[in-house]
Symmetry: C2
Subunit: 112 residues, 2 copies
């Protein structure tokens, strides 16, 4: 497996993505704050945060008995850069543009 496996694996779970959403809305929350409203045990949330931290999507900072969590958007930026060419400017603005391009390519392969 490649190194980015942890990132994609962490993003695969809906609860973890919701945790990222919460941190995106307000950074620096503790485990208890993030658990509130998630209808899951504190231990489960703790492990989810551990997965996110292991993937580098969340950075933590401990202060006394509290642990603050921060969103790190860098791995997400890398996902974007992997399949979207920033130089040749692929048609990513709308699906309609892509479909148009597909029709053209298909005409090259199998002309009408």
């Amino acid at each position: 497996m490649r190194d980015d496996d942890a990132v994609f694996n962490a993003l695969a779970d809906g609860s973890r993505r919701e945790l990222l959403d919460r941190l995106y809305a307000r950074d620096g929350q503790t485990l208890r704050e993030l658990t509130a409203g998630l209808q899951m045990s504190r231990q489960a949330v703790s492990r989810h945060l551990g997965v996110l931290e292991g993937a580098g999507l969340v950075v933590t900072r401990r202060s006394g008995r509290e642990k603050f969590h921060f969103l790190n958007p860098v791995p997400i930026q890398l996902i974007h850069d992997r399949w979207i060419d920033k130089y040749t400017e692929r048609p990513v603005t709308a699906l309609v543009d892509l479909k148009t391009e597909l029709e053209q390519r298909h005409d090259l392969i199998d002309p009408p």
Copy 2:
């Protein structure tokens, strides 16, 4: 679950990401072409491509008995937009910048 679940689930598998890499390198490949070199049965690759197509990451076009696969980068762009603010320009250029910001925030909470 949300609607984007299929996309993240599709990206969670390393073999599927490799298929996207291959399509990114050369679009419009058939199932046989994509299977070559992947050390997996054709049926397994077929199901992986089905997952990618179901998530909208791959668009297909059938011509006779052959099926061509094309990469659709739109869902990946949406992932990027979800957690990276394009207006306020968060510090996503380097992890160093983020760490610096985290130090500053921590000083606000727990001054030295």
